[in-house]
Symmetry: C2
Subunit: 480 residues, 2 copies
């Protein structure tokens, strides 16, 4: 199917949001279904976005002293099973290797769902004294968590991610690191992806298998559902105890390290689609767009050379901008407009013979469709300014949407109505009891996205389940 | 064990090359053994080298129009088995997933040893007409080929690599691409890694499972053995036929595509160690070194502040150089010299109170130990020049070694003696018959590394096995 037909065939958001989503994923050639259950192929356009995510985040990690490394994808069952909560949480989703070639293995090997145990085993070898701490390691890789159904980028059996793992002398330093990394995620997601997030703590039932505390950043999608966009865990000394990660402290005592782990995955691409996309397709913030400016030349045979050479000039003037000239002969300008809109390119420049005469170009914003003639001599400055403006406007639009779709609720019925109406984040009271949490979930479909933490405060209210008064309010939402 | 003891405990190359190699790998903290058979952990210093390899190569790939993507690591057995030679070649080394969680899978899934079949399956979906060609895809990932023994970077069950996969309209264009990529590898390995290579064609018995032709770049290690450093395959239409990768040509005919695939892996790091390393450890070419210049301050209590502030100044002057100031308090300058030599850092700058007085620094080359005082005001220019000089000298030294260790042989006995004496590449005649190749291998331990191809010509000789005269000469060597 060519792109034109994809544009035509994109289901409107209002009609069926989830079909709209998969139409955009496939139409914009971000990903495709693979012939392996639950798996996708990340196509070049999707992967180029992932590379930009990697480059930006990786620089932020390194600025805090983190180094990259690579650990085996297979974890022996005996090592994986050492931390009881960890294996209990992940075992149902782990693919097991039982044979290699013709040989049956003596011990099964699991494909990593997360690498706390294998990395911790190495930490135990590497760490001897307090001088070796903190140890700050990150890994870019793919992991597997077996899924029955596939939802591209959001729920796939294999996914691309990064996982940071750190060791510290004490709880204070480890907690500081866990909080630092959730702040790195918050600033990256807000500044680069133009997606506002709520920051907070996970409840016991929602936290990472093996963690003491899980910090989370939660984003609100256009259909009113929440997306857990990144998590950072204070692991305490649980893994250190079972894996033997100890250090000799200055006082001559052997002590277990305190650990953190933290990760974001390619589901961030799903977030980009669902926060910014519209009925014409993807809309990418300039800071993450693989192509920031596409130039579409408009010409006939007799004006071809003049127009194309003006385009080449323009490209060399816009040095430092990620620019592409779409000079394909086999497509009309209209076809190209559609395709680049579907792919989410922030700015389009149209350049035809009349523009040449007037010494100008036509500039079109993807995010709001605004069309402006720009004098050629002002182009470099205007493009630079406009990329910044689009980035800010996109963030502000998403922030306004989140504000408009965050409501205080006083009762379980109100919350249920909100969820049914796809109306976003709900702030409501929760007494802290597991049973109340389970009751609310069963009756509304909403889960606790996060609790207050630090400067991120969500007030107080009456528990939506048991009615206890003046308890902390938390964010509820239906989630991906 | 601290680094000092590692330096002391590095086995001399002459005594036992393979122990020297593993001592360097572990002492320089490039990699460590993992608790999974055949697997290693790539530690931060090793991974930083890999990141530099990735960044450099990736830019070269993209300059030829290649785009990155990501495909599933698991391949259903039915897909993997489609190309007969391919599965025959790889099946003995493939780890098989048979269960996920508690569930037994209906079909086994192999962990990719290489992705021709899974990527080809997607090509078949994506390619419709000649307008979709060429399709040029690359993937950075890890793959698995089960190994009984572990030799860090050189022979590991899981390894990091890139695999390029392309589709073309005809044999000519596909062969052009396969040859283009072996040339990309040659220039990268020679220019950036300072490792001279021989370029050529593989014999039938040594080529990739499923390829029509395999092009290779072969490097000579310090112990006289060859390392296959990269390969590029012209695959013909074999995979296209069994996977149904067809396109509608301009003439209205449905035709199979012609394909290539090409890859290099983290064994390049093994090559760096074995070509440039010495008895003090690793020696890295400046173009690939994570730290190009290390500054070691030398001071007592009363000169500490002056020396350290001079170091900071110096760092800001050397903008654009990958520089690190080793201001750790717990180690002596001598300890630091040893450690940075072990880690292969190309230039060391020593700065003490007497240097401050004389307005100079002491600069020490890792590759040849040369020590030169450099006036402070000439430092930026001198460092810049010296990094270039070191890069060139290292290449020239390796090239001279290769020249000195390449010999023409006239008989199988001569070849056997050469292999026993660890004396490098041998140029000898081969009639082209499989049986002669097998006979030579059985009697000498040497394999055919490559045949002449294009401008890379190795002359002629008498077949070392059957004695047929005036047959092409090929490169023989014992190989990793």
């Amino acid at each position: 199917m060519d792109t034109e037909s994809y544009v035509k065939s994109i289901t409107p958001q209002d009609e069926n949001f989830s079909r709209w989503y998969t139409d955009v994923v496939r139409g914009a050639e971000l990903a495709d279904y693979a012939p392996v259950r639950g798996c996708i192929v990340v196509r070049p356009h999707g992967y180029a976005i992932w590379e930009n995510i990697q480059n930006d985040l990786d620089a932020r990690f390194k600025a805090t002293g983190v180094q990259n490394a690579y650990f085996p994808m297979l974890i022996p069952e005996s090592i994986f099973a050492k931390e009881a909560e960890h294996i209990e949480g992940f075992a149902p989703e782990v693919p097991w290797v039982t044979h290699a070639g013709q040989e049956e293995l003596q011990e099964r090997l699991g494909i990593r769902p997360s690498s706390e145990t294998i990395i911790g085993t190495m930490f135990a070898k590497w760490i001897e004294s307090y001088r070796d701490l903190p140890m700050l390691i990150n890994q870019w890789c793919s992991v597997m968590r077996w899924e029955k159904a596939t939802y591209p980028f959001l729920r796939t059996s294999e996914f691309l991610w990064q996982e940071g793992h750190t060791c510290h002398r004490n709880e204070e330093e480890a907690r500081e690191r866990a909080e630092m990394m959730i702040e790195v995620y918050r600033s990256f997601i807000e500044d680069t992806l133009a997606i506002p997030v709520a920051v907070g703590l996970k409840s016991e039932s929602e936290k990472f298998a093996g963690a003491v505390d899980t910090f989370t950043v939660e984003a609100l999608m256009r259909d009113g559902r929440a997306l857990q966009a990144g998590t950072s865990h204070y692991l305490g000394s649980g893994f250190a105890g079972v894996l033997g990660i100890q250090y000799l402290d200055e006082d001559g005592q052997l002590k277990p390290v305190h650990q953190t782990s933290w990760g974001v995955s390619h589901r961030l691409i799903g977030g980009l689609i669902m926060v910014h996309g519209d009925n014409r397709g993807l809309v990418l913030p300039p800071a993450i767009a693989p192509v920031q400016v596409v130039v579409v030349p408009i010409y006939r045979d007799d004006t071809r050379d003049a127009v194309l050479s003006a385009c080449a000039e323009l490209q060399s003037e816009l040095d430092g901008v990620r620019i592409h000239i779409d000079d394909r002969e086999e497509h009309t300008p209209g076809w190209k407009f559609n395709e680049w809109e579907l792919r989410g390119t922030p700015l389009r420049i149209e350049l035809g013979p009349r523009d040449l005469e007037n010494d100008q170009v036509m500039m079109v914003r993807r995010d709001n469709g605004e069309k402006t003639p720009v004098p050629r001599k002002e182009l470099a400055q205007t493009v630079d300014d406009m990329l910044g403006t689009v980035q800010e406007d996109m963030y502000e639009r998403a922030r306004q949407f989140q504000e408009d779709n965050t409501h205080r609720v006083q009762s379980i019925e109100e919350l249920a109505a909100l969820v049914r109406g796809e109306r976003g984040f709900a702030l409501g009271g929760w007494c802290g009891d597991d049973r109340c949490e389970a009751d609310i979930k069963a009756n509304t479909g909403a889960t606790i996205r996060c609790l207050s933490f630090g400067e991120h405060q969500y007030g107080s209210g009456t528990c939506l389940s048991c009615g206890e008064q003046d308890v902390p309010a938390v964010i509820f939402a239906r989630a991906y």
